[in-house]
Structures are given as structure tokens and as C-alpha cells.
Symmetry: C2
Subunit: 229 residues, 2 copies
DNA sequence: TGACAGATAAGAGCATTCATAAAAGAAAGG
DNA sequence: CCTTTCTTTTATGAATGCTCTTATCTGTCA
């Protein structure tokens, strides 16, 4: 299990949540594998309480399944939930990018621009981890610009399903195209062209779609239920 | 504080969450008033642990503010968050009702219809509590029909902000118009007329809007920050 | 040999205790 | 009399221990 140290002002609960989530997304904790609060508490040098609270949180989003008196498992990938996360993201982000065109401030425009620049840098340097982080941050900045940060926070739980599959498809997603999209979206927002920004965002989000069949082939046993007809 | 008894198979945590949420929406726990897990634990005949977990959940949605080692308060009404809840609801529900037109099953159509009929009944009998419940259920059924139940669950936390203000404006909201909207939306979904359903939903959701200024006048001191210019 | 009942084990949920930090109040000094 | 500092109180957060539920295993009886 991949573990980094607890941040200075981070509570045990947040630390546990961050670690468990990250390991699930990175597939260090495999879909279908069982996890217990006791084990995790030892790994993270915490007591069961904060770990349990983190697991409960993840269970709310069906990222882990808790079977009372039997045990808990990292949920198998439910493609219905992956698509639901995708749906929420599409619907909300296209609305948000339009709003951002109206409401964004100069300060946030600058933050967006430097984010896009950094993405170009890390593409040259080939640091995919850093790129993913910047990608998330780009989208978060748009929510912030639209005055909808709470909405962004709310969706994060569901996005685990999406991020996990995205991680499984690494290599098929083209970082360069994503970054170019970001550049164009930034320009549209800067120029306050809301309908253009919306169209660009729709196109952009479609790029994240991964080929379900291919991922299923590569990771058999990680999926819940059969492929649909 | 308004307290009902713990349901048969309900965990202490869920019970605490349900009670605290209900009391916040009903304004039994006033915006700005301080609450401690200890007091609530006594009121609900529970220990601090499940109560604390419920408060943590509410804090995630900024419904309560926890100041470590200082105390917790029921959050003042932040109209930014009320409008954000409204925004999320509008954006998601219009998308969902369109999807529901494509995907709804016969069984769910029947559930929707009997829900609408019950609404008519309770309007005649004048039972506003029951009506609010049926209203929520109507919208939940649409999410279910669209295969987006997880999305509905996700938004519930944010909707507390919205429900609380809606409760403050009781009397200004016209139950009869809402129920008539539901009837029309049901018919559009049944007839698979997605664009009509979407328009009806937009109109319908606008009815929930309450006059901020009026509520501010009626409940001064419950609000965070000044009215915007 | 199969089925049912009782024992045993394991885990979730809750209660209680302990640690820590911040604020309020009391006491002392200027 | 006001200000500053130290103590006490009270809050959240974490840790540990206990209980109750449920699943599984084993033994006995038909």
C-alpha cells in the first residue's frame, strides 16, 4: 500500500480518507479485495475510529461495500456508477463553464493561465502524476470562478469511480490533447465567449471516455456484472 | 427539540443524522445557535460517537460549522449556498427528466402516477408535511427512472440549505401549483415527450424560488453577511 | 448421510476514556 | 482600576474496550 505522511494540520480522519481513496484509485487496493479498519489503522498508525469514519464515507458513494458482520471490500467496478459520475460531470461542468465566462475575476484568470502553462511544461518533462493533479486543479478553478466550489466538493466522492477507470486506461488518454483543450477553454473563458466555451467543454469531456470493453479485457475480475449487450 | 423515536433497523448514526437534519430544516435548531455533541447525545439517548459522526457529515455540506476546541454552531443561512443548491438541482433535474423520458419503465410510471394522485388527496386534506414528503419522492422517482439514484443521494446533503429557506417561506409556496406541475410532468414523461418535460421542469423548479428579501425581513439574524446590492 | 441445533468466532457499532487545545475567568501586579 | 498571566473549564478529536449481531463450523440425532 502506498503511504505518504500525514499533513501538518490534517485530521486523522481526513488523512485516512485521502490515503484510502488514493490507493483505491491507483489500484493498490484492488477492486474486490477485502479491507478491515483494523489493518488499515495499523498501516496508517491511527486508531480504528478515524479509519472507520473514512470507510463509512467511502461506503456512502459505494466505493467500498460494507457487509455487516462479514467484512468490507473495495467495490468491484460498476460501470453504471462510472457512467453516472461521467453524467454528473458533463451536466455540471458545461453549466459551470458558461457561468465562469460571466463571473470570472482577473485573479482567477491568471491562475488558470499559469495552470495551463504548467501543464505544457510537465508534458515536455513527462510527469503524468503532476499532470493529473493540474488537470483536476484546472476544473476546480472553473467551479471556483463560477462561485460553485461546494458543488465541486460534493461531486468529488462520486468521481472516484471515474478516476479509477481513468487510471486503468492510462496510456490511451492523450495528455497532449487534454492540455490543448484546456488552453482553448481558457481562451474562451478569458474572452467571455460562453457558448464557445460550453462547446469546447463538451468536446473536452468526451475525451475522458475510455473504452469499457478494452479495460474489461485488460483487467478481468475487477468488474461487477457482465458487459451489457 | 423535536424528537421522534429511533426506527427499528436504523443505526444510531443514521438516527442522529435524521433528527439533527430535520430539526435544522424546521428551525428548531436555530441558525447561529451553538450545538454540542454532548447535549445532542443526551437528547437522543446515544453516546457522542454516532452524534459526532452525524455532525461531521453535516459539516461537510457546511450545514454546521465545527470550530475545533471551540464549539459547533448551526450555520447561518448563506444565500450563496442556497442558490448553489438551487443551481445544482436545476441543472441536474432538467437533464434527468429528459433521460427519464427515454428510460422509464412501466412499473415506475405507475409509481409516479399514484404519487401524483396521493398529492391531490393530501391537498384536499390539507396535510403539508405529507405533501412535502411526496414532493421529494416524486423527484426521487425521476432520478430512479433515469438510472441516476446515486446522483440524487449525493445532492441531498446540499439541499438542506434549500429546504431550510423553503420552510421559512411556508405559505408563500403554492402547493396546488406544484402538484399541478407534477401532474403535467408525469404526463410528459409518460408520453415520452422529453423536450416538453424539460421545459415543464424548468418552469416547475422556478416556483420553489423564494423571495430572499422577504425572508430576510421576517428572520433577521438568521443570515450570514449583508444582502447583495 | 443429511439436517438441525448449539457453540464459537469475527466484525460492526457504540460507549467510554484519554489527550489536547482554546477560551474564559480569577488573581496578582502595575 | 486596568491589564496581564496563569489556572480552570470545556470543547473536539483520538484511542480503546465492550456488546450484540450474524455467519460458519461442528456435533448429534434422525
Amino acid at each position: 500500500m502506498y503511504i505518504t505522511e500525514q499533513l501538518p494540520r490534517e485530521s486523522g480522519r481526513d488523512y485516512a480518507l485521502r490515503m484510502i481513496k488514493e490507493n483505491i484509485i491507483r489500484l493498490e487496493l484492488e477492486p474486490g479485495s477485502s479491507i478491515s479498519d483494523r489493518e488499515l489503522a495499523v498501516c496508517l498508525s491511527l486508531s480504528r475510529t478515524p479509519v472507520r469514519e473514512a470507510l463509512l464515507e467511502l461506503a456512502k458513494y459505494k466505493v467500498v461495500d460494507i457487509y455487516p458482520q462479514k467484512g468490507s471490500v473495495v467495490s468491484l467496478i460498476d460501470y453504471e456508477l462510472v457512467e453516472e459520475a461521467c453524467f454528473v460531470r458533463n451536466v455540471l461542468e458545461t453549466a459551470v463553464v458558461e457561468l465562469a465566462c460571466e463571473k470570472i475575476t482577473e485573479a482567477l484568470l491568471e491562475e488558470l493561465e499559469s495552470n495551463v502553462k504548467l501543464q505544457r511544461f510537465y508534458i515536455q518533462e513527462r510527469v503524468p502524476d503532476k499532470l493529473m493533479e493540474l488537470d483536476d486543479e484546472f476544473h476546480r478553478l472553473l467551479f471556483k470562478a463560477a462561485g460553485k466550489l461546494q458543488t465541486y466538493e460534493m461531486t468529488k466522492g462520486m468521481m472516484v469511480h471515474f478516476d479509477r477507470v481513468r487510471n486503468m486506461a492510462l496510456g490511451t488518454v492523450k495528455d497532449r490533447s487534454l492540455a490543448e483543450d484546456h488552453q482553448k477553454i481558457f481562451e474562451a473563458v478569458r474572452d467571455r465567449e460562453s457558448s464557445k466555451a460550453k462547446k469546447l467543454m463538451e468536446k473536452h469531456l468526451n475525451r475522458y471516455k475510455v473504452d469499457e470493453e478494452e479495460v474489461r479485457r485488460r483487467y478481468p475480475g475487477y468488474f461487477k456484472g457482465p458487459a451489457r449487450e
